[in-house]
Symmetry: C2
Subunit: 439 residues, 2 copies
Amino acid sequence: MSSQTTTMLSARWHPPSYDIRVEDVPIPQIQDPDDAIVKVTLAGLCGSDLHIYRGQLPIDKIHITGHEFIGEVIKLGSNYGPNAAQPASGRPDLYATLNVGDKIVAPFTVNCGECHVCRLGYTGRCPAGALFGSPKLDGGQAQYVRVPKAGGTLYNLSSHTSWSSSINTPGADFENHLKGIADSSLLLLSDILPTGVFAATQLLSHPKMQPVLTGRAWPPGLYSTVANNASMLSEEDRMITIGVIGLGPVGVCATVALLDDLARRDLPYRVVAIDLNESRREKMKKVYETIHPDGKGSKGEFVVQGFEDAKATVAKWTGGVGCTSIMEVVGNNGALTSAYELVRSFGVITSVGVQPPKNVPFTGQQLYDKNISLDFGRCPVRAMFPMAFELLVRRQDVFGKVGTESSLIDRIVGLEEATEMYRAFDKGEVGKVLFDPWK
Amino acid sequence: MSSQTTTMLSARWHPPSYDIRVEDVPIPQIQDPDDAIVKVTLAGLCGSDLHIYRGQLPIDKIHITGHEFIGEVIKLGSNYGPNAAQPASGRPDLYATLNVGDKIVAPFTVNCGECHVCRLGYTGRCPAGALFGSPKLDGGQAQYVRVPKAGGTLYNLSSHTSWSSSINTPGADFENHLKGIADSSLLLLSDILPTGVFAATQLLSHPKMQPVLTGRAWPPGLYSTVANNASMLSEEDRMITIGVIGLGPVGVCATVALLDDLARRDLPYRVVAIDLNESRREKMKKVYETIHPDGKGSKGEFVVQGFEDAKATVAKWTGGVGCTSIMEVVGNNGALTSAYELVRSFGVITSVGVQPPKNVPFTGQQLYDKNISLDFGRCPVRAMFPMAFELLVRRQDVFGKVGTESSLIDRIVGLEEATEMYRAFDKGEVGKVLFDPWK
């Protein structure tokens, strides 16, 4: 940017509700030695932006919206440089290795990367964290954005280190790693793709999933404890039946992550993907057809249905027993109730939707009677980056497209259209929109 | 029994409530070829018997009470015998190997051992199941009891096969296996000890426990994904802090199972065991002192407190972060609320208490905001027998005693005292009571 330029284009939310304005504001500056300033190349509009848009949160501060963005580092605070993160310093590597000009992606929340919580991998709950596009921290729907604790927060797409940490893809072409991967695809890393991978990982790593995944009966750790001393479970016993409730962009990502994991385990499965919205169901079908044209490469059955049809399908598939587990990607009591209805005894319900401040719709007795396990909460995006990145590269057939029947991204528009796009997105008139602030 | 004897002593519940009568009833007979008739040597009185006693369940049928018993097989149905369970038959081994005269223990529920649910290890939810001491199936507080599906249900204490399946105890003395183990100790296998082991196993196998247990950050399956690329977590990061809420007999068993597992992993830990009842807290302290006299053999800190003190302890231990996980062994909303207060973000709450038909006391937002995982439900006792049996043998210092300050069993009385013992147990005037129906 020229030294004369001091303002930038931004989308800002105004209280009380339904008021997004495209406005010139000062370009953000370094405020703390750990900060980075990023030139935004693309910013996403996400379903959870609508909570603020609609005035559903107790917020009255005007702020720049958006928690999904990718871009290029243009300025670094004084804590960056080759000597910044020697092993003795205990600081994240990025303080030593991040350079002006690097292409980066940020998670939707800041995290320091050096506290106990971050070290455990629970980066979405870092006590120093803040959500981009909130009153506490301006968002990425602008030409520039300030990233606090950038050495802990950012993921450097220009670095081979990031790529080689994708340990499950030996032999991947690291030399030409960014070639052919569009920015619109990389933008998905900021939220929805890691969140989908998180849902699938959380589900598949649950101990109650291990009998069907490994062939060893519950309890975990003992080879077999069932009455007939069978050494391994039969193929029939191991049939995996999974329900996915909610086929918005995160639900589709979660389903792709799940199918990808199951295919790599080479296990047979049955998945029913559920949404009440027909256009979402059609999108999900197209995505499946992209991954497994005519069912090729799949050992599974995959159907996309509304809830009542799905209930009948699960009853038929399992003889009335129910799904092994459910991914709930909606975030309301209707979806949780449906999940409970569909899941079997000793089943798992993994919920990644943002939940409202209402009591969850379960009695203790209902949960006891079915031996239910539940997972809730926000994806620790920073910790999920390597797995999500790997899936992004492997499934460019799904994640690399814009504006097709099977693409997660509907269109890319200029930031001037933000007011209209928020309105249309809220009404369900458009799918996922990305803003190019320089268009 | 002599062929003349046709009646037996039993404790029976009469509607509507608080009415246990010691009565002569007909000795049960084989009704189905899979049945066994067991002569009861000891039967336990358990906290959950009080739900029926108090008339809290919608039940009006007179029936024999009690779901905890051990005894000796005196009669077998026609489906038993050496040719009954050839591999081709697919039936549990016990149909071929169980003999009249064998000493057995039964789980508190019947399970067939041959359906899909049983094969997976989820025996507590077998569709052919029934709870002993319910209107559907007479209980064990009697001189004899009929055991349906006995080949799937029973655990044969006279068989070396049962013993050698305790794979974690190489070199144990299988030849003299029952020597020195009192019946009162074996009785604990019918419910409370496996349920305690279940709680600890469910907790420790949860993926959110793996970072502290293995030293590898979340997500599971990737070596390390945190920002600073640390290869392994530090000792400080791995400090395990666990809360146990509820120190009744199951709570004590759960705590012993937990401490035993942690000691065998040789990991440092901090455990706070919580109950509002002072005599329960004293018992817990004595048990800990038995296992680790003067703290020997332990890498842990262990304190027993009321809830408010425990809150302060956890805050001090963890700098306000909270417990890694909680075992909830009460089964009501107060305990669940306390568990939520004590647990950290990305924490696990494992509940094994029988829960009431009330909404659980959490909003979706609360669960989302702390990334909580929850497990509910009944212990699949049959599947837990090998692990529980092993712990019983290893911890005879705790489980082998009766009527001492550190013993789980308060006294052994004749069945004629059942009316009075129910009354006293309900009032908290006695601890765990066993009935000897032949005393």
